[in-house]
């Protein structure tokens, strides 16, 4: 099978995106103090990305100084980011409002 990137994987899923309310809120001022930013790697939907200063290739200083960009559309609602985040209060996490979010057709 052809290798699929995360966008291609998520494109096959059914989502009901909530345009009015985000269920995950990042407190960037806390993220700015985080030197490891494990959310960038651990999120299975790859929703946490780093705005590196050197283009697409991440270098160590980006992890420390880069700013996270995040969008909760595409979230699989697993909660990994909530658990993996080393700084309490950085990720404000709740489930999406009723019916919104991922709709698994198989599961």
């Amino acid at each position: 099978m052809k290798r699929l990137n995360i966008q291609q994987l998520l494109a096959g899923n059914k989502f009901l995106v909530d345009d009015e309310e985000h269920h995950i809120t990042l407190h960037q001022e806390i993220c700015a103090t985080c030197s490891t930013k494990p959310c960038i790697f651990a999120c299975p939907a790859g929703l946490y990305t780093l705005k590196g200063k050197h283009g697409d290739a991440l270098i160590a200083s980006d992890l420390k100084e880069g700013e996270i960009s995040f969008d909760d559309a595409g979230c699989l609602e697993c909660g990994t980011c909530r658990v993996v985040c080393p700084h309490s209060g950085a990720i404000e996490w709740q489930y999406p409002r009723g019916s919104f979010g991922i709709i698994y057709r198989y599961g």
Binding site: M1, R3, L4, I6, L9, L10, G12, N13, L16, T36, P38, F41, A42, P44, A45, G46, L76, E77, C78, G79, T80, R82, V83, V84, P86, S88, Q94, Y95, P96, R97, G98, S99, G101, I102, I103, Y104, R105, Y106, G107
Partner: protein, 431 residues
């Protein structure tokens, strides 16, 4: 709805919640089953197989009516290390005899069916509602809050899954630690039923379950799984979150690597990915269990950490269903005495003992500690696959008996004899 008071509010229409609702509704109790998904099952995923015994006690002969995929007749465990792998397969046609030992299934259709059974039995099923908090009055849980609505009940059953916000809000558990949970990611790959039966050498619509340990998790605590559904394959990886925190691997990339392995690629060739899903898996067993009951509240299923992973056996749904049944019995008894306090619900562990959940969790209490041994994911798969490859290789080298090969294999690895002896002892006792 705000005016009414229920005997029980069950939060989460997964297998644990729906089982509890079904049994309580059958007894004629006022039960509200709340699900945040637009339909039950639409938020749920798992690896792919349910052991039957627990549901068979609740709904005897359930396979006659439940939406299931394939009954499993073949179990395989594989050690992977680079280009090498060693597998052990067990096939047992007895597993097909009633009660059919286990089934692969898909949660969207299965959970919807089970919640519907609860509804048919008389439970009120409310979908598309997110419960935001528990209501607590003088230290006692008296209901739940969903947006503006406050709904009251004698007892609340938290069946809201691995990432249970409710047990945290009710003060029954602290925030999850990375080492206590794993992230599971899965692809649902569509293939024709005939192709699956041929590739996996299965008769008719029988099924197979595969577990993989070793390089598929890049040395991290975890492993791979593959389950055959009727006309699709559930393929995925599970990796401990503490390891995801320490490393910089992306699980979706690891899963693509796994798919391209020569042991996997031919099995899924020509398939189409129909869905990509992810979920947390409670991994720390009894050592991570929350308070299982409090004043006016019980905790069941994944929310209580009722999952067992032995590497060769993974159990979750059966324990969820059995714990849901135990919670239902606890509520019935509490109602008979009209006492839903902590004291009134304190027989929940006894009911868990009666149907085996407690003893299972207790028996495997130390397994998570053993599975935290790094050697299991790198050194051992390498030694085992090297030894096997050596045994099967003929290249004109001087002859060497198996014992000599084994001694040399272990000596040349990073494993010390004392570690091998210790791990064998611990593994034998904890798995």
């Amino acid at each position: 709805m705000a005016e009414e008071k229920f005997t029980a509010i069950i939060v989460g229409a997964g297998p644990a919640g729906s089982t509890a609702a079904y049994l309580l509704a059958q007894e004629g109790l006022d039960v509200l089953l709340i699900e945040r998904g637009e339909t039950p099952g639409s938020k749920n995923m798992f690896g792919g197989r349910m052991y039957s015994y627990a549901l068979n006690q609740v709904i005897p002969g359930f396979w006659e009516e439940a939406p299931l995929q394939r009954p499993v007749v073949k179990e395989t465990v594989s050690f992977m290390s680079g280009k090498r792998s060693v597998s052990m397969t067990c096939q047992d046609q007895n597993w097909l005899q009633t009660p059919v030992h286990s089934f692969t299934l898909l949660r969207a259709e299965f959970d919807a069916w089970l919640a519907n059974k609860a509804e048919e039995a008389g439970a009120m099923l409310a979908c598309g509602i997110r419960v935001d908090d528990v209501l607590i009055e003088s230290g006692r849980v008296t209901g739940v809050r969903a947006g503006e609505d406050e709904i009251h009940a004698d007892v609340v059953i938290a069946a809201d899954g691995a990432n249970s916000l409710l047990t945290e809000r009710a003060g029954l558990r602290k925030a999850l630690l990375p080492g206590q949970v794993a992230t599971g990611a899965k692809q649902l790959i569509e293939l024709s039923a005939d192709t699956i039966s041929q590739r996996f050498q299965l008769e008719d619509k029988q099924g197979a379950a595969y577990l993989y340990v070793g390089s598929c998790s890049s040395g991290m605590q975890g492993g791979g799984f593959l389950y055959t559904n009727l006309d699709s394959i559930s393929l995925g990886l599970v990796v401990n979150v503490a390891d995801l925190q320490r490393n910089q691997y992306k699980i979706n990339e690891l899963l693509e690597d796994f798919k391209s392995q020569p042991q996997i690629a031919p099995l899924i060739a020509g398939g189409q990915v129909a869905e990509y899903s992810a979920h947390l898996v409670p991994e720390a067993g009894f050592n991570m269990r929350p308070e299982l009951f409090g004043d006016g509240i019980l905790v069941v299923g994944d929310a209580a950490g009722f999952v067992i992973n032995l590497g060769y056996q993974v159990r979750g749904m059966d324990l969820a269903i059995a714990s849901g049944a135990a919670a239902a019995r606890t509520v019935m008894q509490a109602r008979a005495g009209n006492d839903f306090s902590e004291q009134g619900l304190s027989q929940y562990p006894d009911f868990l003992k009666q149907n085996g959940v407690w003893d299972t969790m207790e028996a495997y209490r130390h397994t998570p500690l053993f599975l935290d041994t790094r050697r299991l994911y790198e050194a051992y798969p390498q030694v085992v696959t090297d030894l096997a490859a050596d045994a099967f290789t003929v290249d004109g080298s001087p002859p060497e008996h198996l014992l000599g090969k084994m001694m040399r294999g272990v000596k040349s690895s990073s494993i010390k004899w004392s570690q091998l002896a210790g791990d064998a002892w611990k593994g034998g006792r904890s798995l």
